[in-house]
Amino acid sequence: MNNSHKIIHWFKYASPQSFYPLAGKLIPWFWALAAVFAGIGLWITFFAAPTDAQQGEGYRIIFIHVPAAWMSMFIYMVMAAWAGLGLALNTRLSGMMAQALAPTGAIMAFLSLWTGALWGKPMWGAWWVWDARLTSALILFFLYIGFIALQAAIDDPRRADKAGAILALVGVVNVPIIYFSVKWWNTLHQGASVSLMKAPTMAATMLWGMLIMSLAFWMYSIAVALTRVRAIILEREAHTEWVKELAEVKGVTP
């Protein structure tokens, strides 16, 4: 009995109508957390973390390069999971969540490439090399762009969701390729500095800085995706009664 009650509870928030106000309540909290973590993370990045023996001050790029790269892969997995859920259960919110996550993921993928190029130039002597890690990360960026473009090309949102979901699910194969590329192929890119299997190969201050910056990126991504999903819900549900009855549509309160 208790269990079935819980299931009903979760399905309740799977409808756009009840998710819309919930997201609205959660957004300010995620912005606040993002700001706090970014503040602490940037302080560690520029003031607490010592100069690197080999790379001087140039290594400080790591504090945004690694979180952006992690988020680009993680958001892709979450986006594909939502898309797959939508394909399997035909729930309306799933496709909207996948659509809301794609631009944020694309920005993270772009930032990982951009900061990587700016780090590669002084340390390797090249902005770009066609190496396994860099190439698979570039493919991830193209997968996001492809997902966004494919959805934009199909007028019917439900059909756009389905086509996008298939692309997203096929593209999942690229994520382990990116992650393990530094092990599977000889590459210029350094191996993982942080791994669940073994002790990290870096100083504690740097590790903390990276983890806190990652939390900041994480909170940011949730906040911005929830903001965007609220816009998407309104766009797609524009002709439903509940949207017409919303206070912000009726103009009772701004």
Binding site: G56, G58, A231, E235, A238
Partner: protein, 60 residues
């Protein structure tokens, strides 16, 4: 604190272009993206309000 002066901080030990190019791009994108997301919601809300107004004018 490991900086002797503000100038040393901005010089980043000779890596200013790379460090500030990275953090600058990051700041620009992560400020613009939420602004665009908020704008997307306000623009759909505006059109919904306009539609509602049109409906009330048609059927008073």
């Amino acid at each position: 604190m490991n900086w002797e002066s503000p100038a040393a901080f901005f010089a980043m030990g000779g890596y200013a272009l790379y460090v500030w190019g990275s953090f600058g791009a990051c700041a620009i994108l992560l400020i613009m993206e939420p602004m665009l997301a908020v704008k997307r919601r306000t623009s759909i809300l505006r059109s919904l309000r306009r539609e509602r107004l049109a409906e009330t004018l048609e059927n008073p």
